[in-house]
C-alpha cells in the first residue's frame, strides 16, 4: 500500500508529468515547468480528490511549493 508521501508525489507527478526521481523540494509554483495558474487549480482538485479534503482558498493561493503542499495537507491530518 503506497504511503501518503508516495500518493502526494504521485499527484504531483501526474499533474506536471514529472519523472519518478524528481527533486521534490525543488518544485516551485511559477518556476517548475507547467506549474502555472491553470495547472495549479488542476493540482488542487487532484489533491482534494486523492485525500478527500477541501483545501481552504487561502491555502490554495499559499501552496507555492511541494514543501508547502506537505505543510498544508498536514492541517487536514494528511501527514507525509
Amino acid at each position: 500500500m503506497p504511503s501518503l508521501l508516495d500518493r502526494l508525489q504521485s499527484v504531483f507527478r501526474t499533474a506536471f508529468n514529472l519523472p519518478e526521481n524528481s527533486n521534490w523540494n525543488a518544485l516551485i509554483y511559477g518556476e517548475t515547468r507547467g506549474w502555472d495558474s491553470v495547472a495549479h487549480m488542476a493540482l488542487i482538485a487532484a489533491l482534494e480528490d486523492e485525500f478527500d479534503i477541501m483545501i481552504d482558498t487561502d491555502d490554495v493561493i499559499d501552496m507555492s511549493s511541494f514543501a508547502k503542499a506537505r505543510e498544508i495537507l498536514a492541517k487536514h491530518g494528511v501527514t507525509t
Partner: protein, 249 residues
Amino acid sequence: MISLEGRVCLVTGSTRGIGWATAAKFASAGARVILNARGADGALEERRAELEAATGREVYAIAADAGDPRQIKALYGQIFETFRRLDVLVNNAGVMRDARLGMVTQELVASVWSVNVTGALLHLQEASRLMSRGKSGSIINLSSIIGRVGFAGQTVYGASKAAIIGMTLAAAKELAAKNIRVNAVAPGFIDTDLTRALDPAKRDAVIHSIGMGRAGSADDVAGGILFLASDLASYVTGQILGIDGGMVV
C-alpha cells in the same frame, strides 16, 4: 416538469423574495435544497421547516452572511462535509441601497459592494471548486435590469449588478471546460417587500413602462432560474437572461 432530482442546490438569501421562490421551486423539482441567509433571526429555520412540510423532502439550512468572507468559507466547508458535492448555486443574496450621486458615501459603496460583488465572487469561487470535483455544475448569478440600463439614484446598486454581468461572462469562459455553466438573470420590476414599499404614484409609473403591464413575481424569476439550473439549459452558458416583462427603463 423540470427535474432537479437529487441535485444539491444552494440558494443564497433564500428566506424571502426571489431566493425563497427559487428554493421552493427547486424543492418541488426534487432538489436537495440548502437554504441560506444571515443567522441573526430565526427566519432561516422557520423557512426550512416550512419547505420541508410543504414538499415532504429534507431541506437543509446553513446560516452565513454574504458580506463576511469567513462565513462564506465556513458555509462551503459544511457543504463539503455534509454532501461532498454541489450541483447548483443560485447567487442571490444582495442588498439595495439607493442614493443620489451627491449623497453616495464610502460606507454605502462598501456595504453594497461587500455583499453584491465581493460576496457573490467568493460564492462563485467556492462553489466552482466543489463543482469541479463533480465535473459539472450550474451557477446562476442575480443581476438586474438596473445593471444593464441604469436608473437614477441607483448608481452604486447598478454598478454592482453590472459587475455581476462581467463576472458571469468571465467565469463562464473559464469554467466551460469543466462543464460548469455560469449564467445570470436580470430581473426587472418584481413585486417584493422592497418594491411594495414604493410610493404608489412612482410604482404606477414604473408599471406603465412594462410591456406586459404588470410587475413580475418572484415566481416568474424563479422559473427562469430553474430553467438555467436544469438540464434543459445543458448547452447554455455565459448568458444574461432578462426577466422583465418587456420593461423599458
